[in-house]
């Protein structure tokens, strides 16, 4: 019986890919384990091995085809002596399966940024992914300051586990782009020492889940030493890496640490959403004389945005961005939460509710001014984040609003967060555990009494 060869999912977040190259042609005999094609995901080019045996009866998707959806038939294998047309094709099991993994929240690939008020009029923009923007920020700062170096697991030869440091080893060499053993507590502490010693380290954690191994050095050494030394010894260092849930990687690999680090005096914390903010904030972080926690997101890495093509473009810490002006309700978010906030605002507009959407961009310092000013106008507020509900960033914002503009509030502030559970693996439960656009829409309606 003929067997369909399906486009494989080659990473946790892959939804489609490019069929870069066929390594077999029609009529070739393949056995299980043979490499039959090269497939490009957003992260890498992967070799695709046959899992069945047979003869390549037909190549359905030509090489060089972009955006081939996972599970789309790409070729048909037949048995010896079999005619392709005469045989029924085994149905593709996964497509018939109702419970394939939850797709990552879908956002339009390209998002137009409202003009930054502080950009000169007519600034050229180029479209970049968050991944490229982060790489450029590091490369530019490394070119500008010989003392900036990058250290972490798989950052050099592997080009980054999530390909953020692609090309940096080639440009800057092994002295400045350094692969470490798997020893987070050790290399985080070593980098803190290097910062005390006059360098400007960028430490990549493969993900922030693993920074838990190093959290003592981050908090007890990096964050507190300036204070303890009476201002003598600062720690100019950036700890960066993906934070929060990716897709289906379960409890130990899916956690948003925004509130954890925002809690700590002595640290600065940035959590960008767009590529331009990722770039501008990372450059600011590298130049900052303090320890900065820079929280990225794997699902956002591949999203494209307009980035100002400006030399020396930076985004200041402590300044929120108003993405969308509105008059009925203020939606405050940051990082991937912005995806839901902006989607919700679109949907609310259709229902005649005008939402103002604020991206905090940095959580320490936190631009409460912008939030307060907005709430004085809209009188209602919904906060959106992925972290756990207890002691969340939203809780803090609610407290600030209560203390400073209590009389302006026409409804209790709603804090939307991830659910109060470790992240489950099962597709259906994972979807439930995460904050959703639907919840944002509903909360906005609740606070506006619609």
């Amino acid at each position: 019986m003929a067997i369909e060869v399906l486009m494989p999912a080659l990473s946790p977040t892959m939804e489609e890919g490019t069929l870069a190259k066929w390594l077999v042609k029609e009529g070739d005999v393949v056995s299980s384990g043979d490499v039959i094609a090269e497939i490009e995901t957003d992260k890498a080019t992967m070799e695709f091995e046959a899992v069945d045996e047979g003869i390549v009866g037909k190549i359905i998707i030509a090489e060089g085809t972009d955006n081939v959806k996972v599970n789309a038939p790409i070729a048909v294998l037949i048995d010896d002596g079999e005619e392709l047309s005469a045989t029924p094709i085994a149905s593709a099991p996964a497509t018939a399966e109702p419970s394939a993994p939850a797709a990552a929240p879908v956002t339009p690939a390209k998002i137009v940024i409202p003009e930054e008020p502080d950009l000169p009029a007519g600034t050229d923009m180029k479209t970049q992914t968050v991944r490229e923007a982060l790489r450029d920020a590091m490369a530019e700062e490394m070119r500008g300051n010989e003392n900036v170096f990058l250290m972490g697991e798989e950052v050099a030869e592997y080009q980054g586990a999530y390909k953020i440091s692609q090309g940096l080893l080639d440009e800057f060499g092994a002295r400045r782009v350094i692969d470490t053993p798997i020893t987070e507590h050790g290399f985080a502490g070593l980098a803190v020492g290097a910062a005390f010693g006059g360098l400007n380290p960028i430490v990549e954690f493969m993900t922030f889940n693993f920074a838990m191994q190093a959290i003592d050095q981050i908090i007890n050494s990096a964050a507190k030493t300036l204070y303890m030394s009476g201002g003598q010894m600062g720690c100019p260092i950036v700890f960066r890496g993906p934070n929060g849930a990716a897709a289906r990687v379960a409890a130990q690999h899916s956690q948003d640490y925004a509130a954890w680090y925002a809690h700590v005096p002595g640290l600065k914390v940035a959590m960008p959403y767009s590529a331009s903010d990722a770039k501008g904030l990372l450059k600011s972080a590298i130049r900052d004389p303090n320890p900065v926690i820079f929280l990225e997101n794997e699902i956002l890495y591949g999203k494209s945005f307009d980035v100002p093509a400006l030399d020396g473009y930076t985004v200041p810490f402590g300044k929120a961005r108003i993405w969308r002006e509105g008059s009925d309700v203020t939606i405050v978010s940051f990082g991937i939460g912005m995806t839901y906030a902006l989607e919700a605002a679109d949907r609310l507009a259709k229902d005649g509710i005008s939402a103002e959407v604020i991206d905090l961009r940095t959580l320490r310092p936190l631009d409460t001014e912008t939030v307060i000013r907005s709430v004085q106008k809209t009188n209602r507020c919904v906060t959106v984040e992925e972290g756990f509900p207890v002691c969340s960033i939203g809780n803090h914002i609610s407290a600030v609003l209560m203390q400073q503009v209590f009389d302006y509030l026409d409804a209790p502030v709603i804090n939307l967060t991830g659910k109060d559970v470790p992240m489950p693996y099962a597709a259906n439960l994972e979807k439930l555990a995460l904050v959703t656009t639907d919840e944002v829409v509903e909360a906005a309606k609740t606070v506006t009494y619609r």
């Binding site: 399906l6 494989p8 999912a9 080659l10 990473s11 946790p12 299980s32 490499v35 995901t41 992260k43 890498a44 080019t45 992967m46 070799e47 899992v51 996972v70 599970n71 593709a92 099991p93 996964a94 399966e97 419970s99 394939a100 993994p101 697991e153 798989e154 030869e157 592997y158 586990a161 692969d179 053993p181 798997i182 020893t183 987070e184 507590h185 050790g186 889940n209 693993f210 838990m212 191994q213 990716a246 897709a247 289906r248 990687v249 379960a250 409890a251 130990q252 690999h253 659910k419 109060d420 559970v421 470790p422 489950p424 693996y425 099962a426 597709a427 259906n428 439960l429 439930l432 555990a433």
Partner: protein
């Protein structure tokens, strides 16, 4: 098949050889199936296959007794199958279904079976090492003669908590066997790019822990070393280190482009050192089995794996109410 250093124990029985063959084959076929299900989108997230390393767990399980414990990393499917956990329950956990060992809540990296004394399934590199010593601590405290097999990778061997654990394990004479599964790579980093120690097991000497290197592609050598380590622990002499030299044939996880090694390197190990081929050859040349016997075993294993795959597709997703269960134990 290239010649092996290890001398075969002459008294190995046909029954034993057949058993190891079956168990290693089960792991391999199971993992191949898991790879397929991942490609079809039925398994999500990270999925780390054990293909190539089968002789390590099968050899050590052959040295274990009822009640002994084991704990390992995220590359855990082989360990679960080898300690007798049900392939259906393991595969259904991989697909995130109700019938999985963790009811679909843990996934590939996080599975447990109290009944089989399998303590996980840990996603944070190195974290299982002190946990393994803690299991051994509990056994010693309770006064039984159980031992704990604590598996970790060559990459994990550089984590600081491993050495904190070595120190305590020897200090308190804990019955724990540290099994370093040296498959030569930690993701894309080869051992020589992560340490200048000539051998990983020798690091135990700094804490007074004995150990040895073992050919992990030879199930009989692994079993013999395991028996020695178990005897040491059960005699109350404290921890023991086995650095088992092995090789992973597949990428680190499903999304690893594996540019850090050549296809030829992988091919060479497959052709010259494959652990399953080795036992197959022993069975055939020793006239313990015929090609037909082995084909029958293949068929059997295929049926078990297909049944597991089928179960993992038909078992329902967990009920939505499961989101909020198991966060706290009832007081």
């Amino acid at each position: 098949m290239a010649a092996r250093k290890t001398t075969k124990k002459p008294n190995i029985s046909k029954q034993e050889l057949l058993e190891y063959y079956r168990e290693m084959l089960l792991i391999r076929r199971f993992e191949e199936k898991a790879g397929q299900l991942y490609g079809m989108g039925l398994i999500g997230g990270f999925c780390h296959l054990y293909i190539g390393q089968e002789a390590v767990v099968v050899g050590l399980e052959a040295a274990a007794s009822e009640g002994d414990k084991r704990v390992t990393s995220y590359r855990d499917h082989g360990h679960m199958l080898a300690c007798g956990m049900d392939p259906k329950g393991v595969m259904a956990e991989l697909t995130g279904r109700e019938g999985g060992y963790s009811k679909g809540k843990g996934g590939s990296m996080h599975m447990f079976s109290k009944e089989k004394h399998f303590y996980g399934g840990h996603g944070i590199v190195g974290a299982q090492v002190p946990i393994g010593a803690g299991l051994a601590f509990a056994d010693k405290y309770l006064g039984n003669d159980r031992v704990t097999f604590t598996y970790f990778g060559d990459g994990a061997a550089n984590q600081g908590q491993v050495y904190e654990t070595y120190n305590m394990a020897e200090l308190w004479t804990l019955p724990v066997i540290f099994v370093i599964e040296n498959n030569q790579y930690a993701m894309g980093t080869s051992v020589s790019r992560s340490t200048k120690s000539p051998s990983l097991w020798e690091r135990g000497a700094a804490y007074g822990i004995p150990g040895e290197e073992v050919d992990g592609m030879d199930v009989l050598a692994v079993k013999a070393a395991g028996e020695k380590a178990v005897a040491h622990c059960r005699a109350g002499k404290g921890p023991y280190i086995l650095e088992v030299k092995t090789y992973r044939y597949r990428g680190h996880s499903m999304s690893d482009p594996a540019k850090y090694r050549t296809r030829e390197e992988v091919q060479k190990v497959r052709e010259q050192r494959d652990a399953i081929e080795h036992v197959r050859e022993l069975l055939l040349t020793g006239k313990h089995a015929t090609e037909d016997d082995l084909k029958a075993i293949d068929k059997d294993i295929k049926a078990i794996v297909n049944e597991a795959a089928e179960f993992s597709k038909t078992s329902p997703e967990p009920a939505l109410s499961e989101l909020y269960t198991d966060i706290y134990a009832d007081a």
